[in-house]
């Protein structure tokens, strides 16, 4: 089924309400019940929308499937989409509006770490619940915040030993986007590289609108690293992969990334420009398990689209499934009740089993180290089953400190 214009009714707020078709609701005997309201705040437009478009559709698909199967606690789900237009100011406005005026029961969304840090205090102030479906730099300790994506203790813990020890990438050169995600992730990279006996030659932060990497590439050649680590973000930084290919190439120097593939970079670059890039991910379309294949098929049927979905698309569906399961376990949609039942909530998803760790509200999941082949597809090299978010577990214990709302950052010795 496609999302048609008729299913969306524009709200005066600038949000878009999405309800399943009346037929779906009445056949599931849900039409009369008061709907559960779910806010989804993502960037449909602007420079960061490459991360959001598939996720918005996956969230709609999850809501529709839940409604078809009889709703949640006998009530239908109603989604309200807000387009934050890649602007943190709008994230703040819409999060407030969703909780105060539209009185939603949960907020899903946010892409960048800066947008998450805009939403989180608002959710805390108005005692809501927030599900963040994106990989990030880890360390957020907040019981009103649920992270369903990878953190460094999962992603880098899998990726770094493979690159540093198995491939011999001892000397690393780190490039990171110039905002909180890049700054904290680069510290994690330094820590992992040093702990593994490697050396971090340099760390460079690149503003999000820089697209000329010629001086960076000259310095990289001066430093002669074994591997370049990229934590680059957004449309302008895509040029790095093009210019790296035209200047050095992955056959001469390894290129590993914490962000590559989540903006579906591999289908936007030409096949030869992305070939050989190494990454760690919790979901990719070619995973080739029955659950993954089934998800890809359902998504394509639902949206009518035939292209790559990837981790962020699947992440939206993952977040909705985990939250819905927690609601079922709690028997209530009240944030406090849902929060109490989060620990141990588990769903069998497209990327394998996902379980929420009650100590941190982060998610235990399978992680795959993969390399891009010459056909714009990823091939898994190593798979790590059920990796816990160890970095955040070290610093965060919501069972003991339920009122904690800190984001802990890694300290380098």
């Amino acid at each position: 089924m496609k999302l048609s214009r008729r299913q969306f009714t524009r709200l005066a707020s600038g949000g878009l309400a999405f309800a399943s078709l009346q037929g779906t609701l009445s056949s599931a005997a849900l039409a009369q019940e008061k709907p559960i309201k779910v806010a989804n705040i993502l960037d449909q437009t602007g420079g960061l929308n490459i991360y959001s478009l598939k996720q918005m559709k996956a969230v709609a698909m999850a809501a529709d499937e839940i409604n078809k199967a009889g709703g949640l606690l006998g009530r239908p789900l109603e989604l309200i989409f807000y387009d934050a237009q890649s602007s943190n100011q709008l994230y703040s406005q819409y999060a407030t509006q969703a909780l105060l005026r539209d009185e939603v029961d949960v907020i899903h969304g946010g892409v960048t770490s800066s947008s998450r840090e805009v939403i989180r205090p608002i959710v805390n102030r108005f005692k809501g619940l927030y599900v963040y479906n994106s990989l990030y730099e880890g360390g957020v300790c907040d019981r009103r915040h649920i992270s369903t994506g990878m953190v460094p203790g999962q992603q880098l813990d899998a990726l770094c030993p493979y690159v540093v020890n198995e491939l011999g990438g001892k000397k690393g050169y780190i490039l990171a986007a110039d905002y909180n995600y890049g700054h904290i992730t680069s510290k994690w990279l330094q820590k992992y590289i040093r702990d593994l006996g490697g050396e971090d030659l340099a760390v460079e932060f690149i503003p999000l609108d820089v697209s000329n990497f010629s001086s960076v590439l000259a310095r990289i050649q001066d430093a002669k690293p074994d591997v370049v680590w990229s934590a680059l973000v957004g449309a302008a930084h895509m040029s790095f992969y093009r210019q790296f290919h035209a200047t050095i190439g992955t056959d001469k120097m390894m290129l590993a990334s914490t962000t590559y593939s989540i903006g579906r970079e591999q289908v936007e670059l030409a096949p030869e420009e992305g070939e050989g890039i190494i990454l760690a991910t919790s979901f990719y379309d070619g995973l080739d398990t029955p659950a993954a294949n089934d998800f890809v098929r359902r998504f394509k049927e639902y949206t009518g689209e035939n292209d790559y979905i990837g981790e962020y698309g699947e992440g939206g569906y993952r977040g909705m499934s985990l939250w819905a399961e927690a609601v079922r376990r709690a028997g209530s949609v009240e944030p406090d009740a849902v929060m109490a039942s989060l620990g141990g909530t588990s769903v069998e998803g497209a990327g394998g089993l996902y379980t929420i760790d009650g100590q941190t509200n982060h998610t235990v999941m399978n992680i795959h180290v993969a390399v891009q082949d010459d056909k714009q597809e990823f091939k898994a090299i190593r798979t790590f089953d059920q990796k816990p978010p160890i970095d955040t577990q070290l610093v965060c214990n919501l069972n003991e400190n339920p009122d904690d709302t800190t984001q802990y950052e890694v300290q380098l010795d």
Partner: protein
């Protein structure tokens, strides 16, 4: 010696990018005094026409030329339908061209999607004194110089160039002498658009094409043209040269962030010392 080569290359590359993105603006804003806020989107349109041409099977260089011509045509259409009613009305032009910019971004996003696109040059790296640089970047430097010299030659040595300069200097007198100034305006705007489109196409192999790419370049282009002063061609070249040196050296020695800060800092100081721009005190020029 090696490091000298690195500096020469970094400066030449920064210079060529500045020339590419600001040459069209030097004509449209510098000569015609039309503040075209859609300039960045003309660049983006050139990049997309190049991707389109290449997808249709044209060789890359032909796709680039076709992209330049296509954007030139778009420029002519925009001039005939919007700009020509607004000459001399600065604020209205600002608003109208901003609208065109949003419209072009919207239409490209709708047709081609929000994701970026690539057409690799397949040229591989070239070694310059031990430093690998993209072979294609040398083509870009050469193309920027050729576009610059070509524009200069047309403006300086041809009859058409004389008519254009005369019209821009004193349209009433030009009309009195029998020049069809309306056509000259249309031609100049179209020519500036075509150069911008070609520049956008030239950027594709190393920078890709995305609907929002215009925004990355537009401010730098305006800074170069404004600091250039009243003689747009010579001014833009000297401003691009100055900023190219600063950008190339600082971004290699320190970082791209500091390079951008330095460029803006120097631009502010320079406009304080030379409020009329670099060519403000020149009596003759283009």
């Amino acid at each position: 010696m090696d490091s000298l080569m690195v500096y020469v290359y970094q400066i030449a590359f920064s210079f060529s990018i500045l020339i590419l993105i600001s040459l069209g603006l030097a004509l449209i804003f510098g000569m015609m005094k039309v503040i075209n806020l859609a300039q960045g989107e003309f660049l983006m349109l050139g990049a997309y026409f190049c991707v389109l041409g290449s997808n249709l099977g044209l060789p890359l260089w032909l796709a680039m030329l076709a992209a330049g011509l296509a954007v030139g045509l778009v420029g002519v259409i925009v001039e005939r339908t919007v700009i020509r009613f607004l000459y001399g009305r600065v604020l209205d032009t600002l608003l109208a061209t901003w609208g065109i910019s949003l419209f072009l971004m919207g239409i490209v996003t709708t047709v081609a999607g929000p994701q970026s696109q690539s057409v690799p040059s397949n040229m591989g790296p070239v070694s310059l004194g031990g430093l690998n640089v993209p072979g294609y970047s040398l083509v870009m430097i050469g193309a920027a110089l050729m576009m610059l010299l070509g524009t200069y030659a047309i403006w300086r040595f041809t009859n058409l160039g004389l008519l254009v300069r005369g019209t821009m200097q004193n349209p009433e007198m030009a009309r009195a002498l029998g020049t069809n100034t309306s056509m000259i305006y249309m031609f100049t705007f179209g020519f500036g658009s075509a150069i911008t489109g070609l520049a956008g196409a030239l950027l594709v192999p190393l920078f890709g094409a995305s609907p929002t790419m215009g925004g990355f370049y537009i401010s730098k282009a305006f800074i170069a043209v404004i600091s250039g002063g009243p003689w747009p061609l010579i001014g833009t070249v000297s401003a691009s040269g100055l900023y190219g040196v600063i950008d190339g050296v600082v971004s290699y020695e320190l970082s791209p962030v500091l390079a951008e800060i330095c460029v803006l800092f120097v631009a502010v100081i320079m406009l304080r010392l030379l409020p009329q721009g670099i060519t403000g005190r020149m009596r003759k020029g283009i």
